[in-house]
Every structure is written in C-alpha cells, then in structure tokens.
C-alpha cells in the first residue's frame, strides 16, 4: 500500500473541476487519483533509473526533470 491514508479528495476534485470546467461524478475522483498513483509510480521508476544511470544516490530533482516530460506524454489520453 503506497498510500496508507486517504488523500485530499476535495483538493483533487477542485483541481480537476477547475481545469476541466466540468463537474465530477461521485467516484470519478477516486479513479483519477488512482491514475495519479500509477503516474507517480511510473515517474519515480523512470527517474530512479535515470538517476542511477547518472550515478546519483537517491532520486535527484534533475533526473525527475529529465523524465517527467516523457512520463506526461505517456499519460496523455
């Protein structure tokens, strides 16, 4: 279990509502958050690979910057 407690549902709803200019159905935000978790997993995996290739310890901001564009493109519907 990556997330042991609940996430800020209201915040997610607000963010999505503001961007989409549409409302959200009742459980859609859970699925969106699920999608976000998958995205974060992918992003962290990629950036850990990138930082290992660069010989850094842990995950550096530079590696995240390097891979995030590709990850966002991958999660574009």
């Amino acid at each position: 279990m990556p997330a042991t407690s609940l996430y800020p549902r209201g915040t997610v709803k607000k963010i999505v509502k503001a961007h989409a200019n549409r409302g959200l159905s009742r459980n859609a935000d859970i699925l969106i958050f699920l999608n976000y978790l998958v995205f974060m997993e992918e992003l962290l995996k990629e950036s850990s690979i990138a930082s290992k290739q660069a010989g850094e310890r842990g995950i550096s901001a530079r590696s995240v910057r390097k891979v995030r564009e590709g990850c966002l493109m991958k999660f574009k519907g």
């Binding site: 999505v16 976000y36 998958v38």
Partner: protein, 547 residues
C-alpha cells in the same frame, strides 16, 4: 512339399519324369546338359577349371565364369600360367629357356633385375670403383625428410612470434575529437567573454537573432499549457548572471530580483489577459519608478496569482526577509522560486553577499544613466556602512509599493478562469516516499526538498493534463460531468487498463482499502446511470454557480 518336389525335378529330372528312357534320350539329355561351346576355347578351359559346377547348370543359362579373372584377360592368363607352371613342364624350347633364365635370376640376387643380361653402365662402373676404394664407409643415413612446404606456409612462420595488434576495422569515432586534428572546429563561446562593466562594447555585444516576430511565434497559436513550457520555467532561476536582450544588444545583469518577480506576478494578475510579459515598461506605465527601467523583462506564466502578499524592499531588514521566505515557501511552485529562496537564504547566512548584490543594483541603475552621488558612493565604500546601506541606501525598486499585504496561500488559475489550490506537497511526499521504499524493498525512500518541489510541479501538470483530457472525453459524449467511464476510457488510452487488467484490479493494487470500498459501491450506481445523469447535471450546475 511341393517345393522339394520341384527341386527334385530340377536336380534329377531323368529319374522322375522319364521313367522309360532309352539310350537315345539319355544322350540327348546329356547333350542338353553339357553346355554349348559359345565361349572361345581358352576361356572355356579357364572357366571349367575355375567353376566345375557349370556342368550342372541347365542349358538355357549361359555359362559365365565368375569373378574378375574371366573378365580381365591378363588376369586370366596369369592364372593360367600359374596353373601351368605348377602342373606341367614347358615343352617348347623357348619356354624351357625362359624358365631356365628365370631360375638363374632367382639364384643370383645381385642381378635380379628382370632376368635379362645386364649391360655395364657408367653407373655400375662407378659403383664398383666406390666399393673397392671405400670399403669402410657406411652409407650415409639420410636425415628424416622434412615435409616440403609451400612458400605460403613458409611465410606463415612469422605468426610464431608474439601476436601483432589486431587491426581496427571500424572508424574511431570516439577518439575523433580527442586528438588535435585540423578538422576540429575552432572553439566558439556561447556566451560573451567576461568584460569589465565600463568597457564600451557597443558592437561586441550585438547579436543576430531569428527574424520572426514574437507575435508570429507558431507555438503561440496553440494552447498555452503550463506543462509545455518547461524551458521557460526552468530558466527563471538562474544563478549568477543573466543576459537580457534589448533589441539587437544583450546586456549583462544579475539574477532576477525576487521582489520584482513578485511585483510582476501581482501586476500580471491584475492584468488578466496578458500571458507573456515582455517588459515592465509596457506594464507599469502608471508607476513612475518602473518606467525608468525599460530593460527588465522576463516571461512569467499568467496563472500564478498571489492574492494577498506583502511587498517589501528586498533588503530592508531580516524580519521581512523571513516573511518573504515564508511566502515563497507556501506559494510558488515554480522553479524560479527555488532560486529566489536560495538567494535569500544566502543573504541570511552571510552578510558579505549583500554588498556585491547592492553594487550590482547600483550598476544596473548606472546603466539606466541615473547619475550617482559620488559622496554616496564613497559612503558605501566604507566597511561599516554595510548595514546602513542595507537600511537606507539600497535602491529599492518600488518604494511606493503597498507594504502590508501578506500572502497566505497560492491559488492558481486555470485556463477556464477558475481558481484551484495546489496539490499538497505533504501528500506528494508521502506517496513518493512510500513508492520509493517499496521499489527499493527495504529501508526508507528519501526524497529531498528540491526533488519534492519538482514532483509537486509535475503533479500539478499531470492533473492539468488529465483534467483537460477528461473534459474532452466528457464533452465528446455530450455530458457536462466527468464520469467514471471517462476516467476508465482515459486509462485505457494510457494503456494502463487492458483486457486482463481492469480498473478494479489496478485499484486493488494501488489504492487503500477505504477508497477501494468506495469504488466497490460504484457498479450499483452504474446500473442506473442513465436515469441519474439528469439529476447529476443539475447538481453540477449548481456547484458551478457556487464556484
């Protein structure tokens, strides 16, 4: 039984078939049995000697001598001669003489050669002479002969030495730039060389740029997503010097003044339509001080808005600095904010940094051709004047700015004009550390502050992208509400959900149990989706009106 009878017939036909046989019939039968002389005489003799069983063969079978002896006449004759030599003495005188000569040859081993009388050859004479002259010499035993080699093999003997270096068959592309070859391009500096500030470099700093006007930038006609401008945002926080472009010239100046950045953000928020700010001269015409600085320009996204904030001249006192640090901690998720933050922290730790900073701003104002008071300069040169210059003489860029506004929270504004909060960094940190710890197996995943800032920024971009996609799906379906099926469709398009990975299995893997239970209740409501839609729309519209 029948077979044996047939055999019997064949072997002794006269006994069984011809009961009353006369002498004539016996003779005829015998003549039938005796082979007809179809083969020549000599051959018949050898054949009869070699194969006595031919007498029994029936007459319809032609007589054939077995083996190769009959086929090769020489072999047959030798066979016959051997047989003759053994059996009978030669009768003809020629044969008698020949036999005698052969026997003589066999008895004398030295002259064995073909039995004929040897004529004396010069070689024989020489051999006889050598026997008489050198009796004791043993014939030289020749050394064992080395098998003859071809010349090509002899050449290959070179290989017995140490192995030569293998030739390289590929182009040495990696080493190509290491050596000092004449093909190496001359070094070109991407930035201008370090020059003293007072050097008149009117022509040196001229640059040539692309001729396309900024308003005709093809990227501008597409949607201006925040996530599409990684470069702009990342370049905001430069440390050290920056070069700014003024027409055809570039001027060197120090990094962004954080207060101007904040001020800029405020004015930007007031000026809603402008997305890219090219200069303060264009924006703050009403404010007298900023008009004097036409060279200050940078780009900032329009959607960063700081509602309440406190504007301070940057170096007034440390309390304000701390306040500003707080502000930026809370609010900004730009990359530029990080740079400002570090700048301020340095100011806190080390007073010495402040002095060059002040001089830099002075230098900037020098560029703006504001005459500086020489006594003031001399006053600032004094070492004890650092603090005083901090308090009194630092040229604050906007002294008339409102002082007592304080920013609590950063609200971003989406493209549709709605405000939205940033995704909380604590949640991002919790998720990220959990995931890193899980991927590493044991131990705690550590995310440092800078990485966390980048992750939060990426999170915001992700939600923006996902929301716009979801809005597009819902709009395509003619709905005003983003439903679960839109998200499922999105995840299908992201290849996160496939035939053997449903959204529910993914949720089971990733989500905590409470959320899973909420999702589990979803199919119940999904049955009556058609009926519920109208009601949901009504609710949503109410909510939109509220927001």
């Amino acid at each position: 039984m029948s077979e044996s009878a047939r055999k019997k017939q064949r072997v002794s036909p006269n006994d069984s078939n011809h009961a009353d046989h006369t002498l004539h019939s016996d003779l005829r039968h015998l003549s039938n049995l005796i082979p007809k002389p179809v083969t020549p005489f000599r051959r018949a003799i050898s054949a009869s000697a070699a194969t006595p069983a031919t007498h029994r063969t029936p007459n319809n079978i032609p007589i054939r001598t077995p083996g190769t002896a009959a086929r090769t006449p020489r072999g047959a004759t030798s066979l016959r001669a051997a047989g003759q030599g053994r059996r009978a003495a030669p009768t003809t005188p020629h044969a008698i003489r020949a036999l005698r000569e052969r026997a003589n040859a066999a008895r004398t081993p030295g002259r064995r050669r073909s039995g004929r009388v040897q004529r004396e050859t010069p070689r024989d004479i020489l051999r006889a002479l050598s026997r008489t002259l050198a009796k004791d010499t043993v014939p030289a035993d020749p050394s064992p002969e080395v098998p003859s080699r071809s010349s090509a093999l002899d050449l290959a003997d070179v290989d017995d030495g140490p192995d030569p270096v293998r030739p390289r068959l590929s182009m040495p592309l990696d080493d190509m730039y290491d050596d000092d070859s004449i093909h190496e391009p001359p070094p070109r500096e991407s930035l201008l060389p370090d020059l003293p500030d007072d050097v008149d470099t009117g022509t040196l700093q001229s640059l040539e740029f692309g001729r396309r006007a900024y308003s005709e930038d093809p990227r501008a006609q597409f949607t201006a997503r925040l996530s599409e401008r990684f470069g702009d945002l990342n370049e905001l926080g430069l440390d050290g010097e920056e070069f700014e472009v003024d027409g055809m010239f570039i001027n060197r100046r120090r990094t962004l003044d954080p207060d101007r950045l904040l001020q800029e953000a405020i004015e930007e928020a007031l000026d809603e339509d402008a997305q890219d700010v090219s200069g303060l001269g264009g924006l703050g015409l009403g404010q007298g001080e900023e008009v004097d600085e036409p060279t200050f320009r940078f780009t900032i996204p329009a959607r960063i808005r700081r509602e309440e904030r406190e504007d301070q001249p940057p170096l007034d006192n440390h309390e304000d600095l701390e306040n500003q640090n707080e502000n930026e901690d809370e609010g900004s998720d730009e990359a530029g904010a990080d740079a400002q933050l570090t700048l301020h922290n340095e100011d806190h730790e080390d007073e010495d940094i402040i002095e060059p900073l002040n001089n830099n701003t002075d230098w900037e104002s020098d560029q703006d051709a504001q005459p500086e008071d020489p006594s003031l300069v001399a006053y600032r040169e004094e070492p004890s004047a650092i603090d005083r210059s901090l308090l009194a003489h630092s040229p604050s860029p906007h002294p008339n700015a409102p002082q007592n506004r304080r920013q609590r929270k950063a609200l971003h504004i989406s493209r549709s004009g709605h405000e939205y909060p940033s995704f909380p960094a604590a949640v991002v940190k919790r998720i990220a550390t959990g995931m890193v710890a899980k991927s590493q197996g044991t131990g705690k995943g550590k995310i440092n502050k800078e990485t966390l800032a980048v992750l939060v920024q990426t999170t915001d971009w992700f939600f923006e992208q996902v929301s716009e996609d979801l809005a597009a799906y819902a709009g395509h379906a003619g709905r005003k509400v983003v439903e679960e099926q839109d998200v499922v469709c999105l995840m299908k398009r992201q290849r996160q959900i496939s035939a053997n990975t449903t959204a529910f299995s993914l949720a089971q893997k990733m989500l905590p149990r409470e959320l899973l239970q909420e999702l589990r209740m979803q199919p119940v409501s999904a049955k009556g989706r058609r009926q519920k839609r109208k009601r949901m729309e009504a609710i949503q519209e109410e909510e939109d009106e509220d927001g």
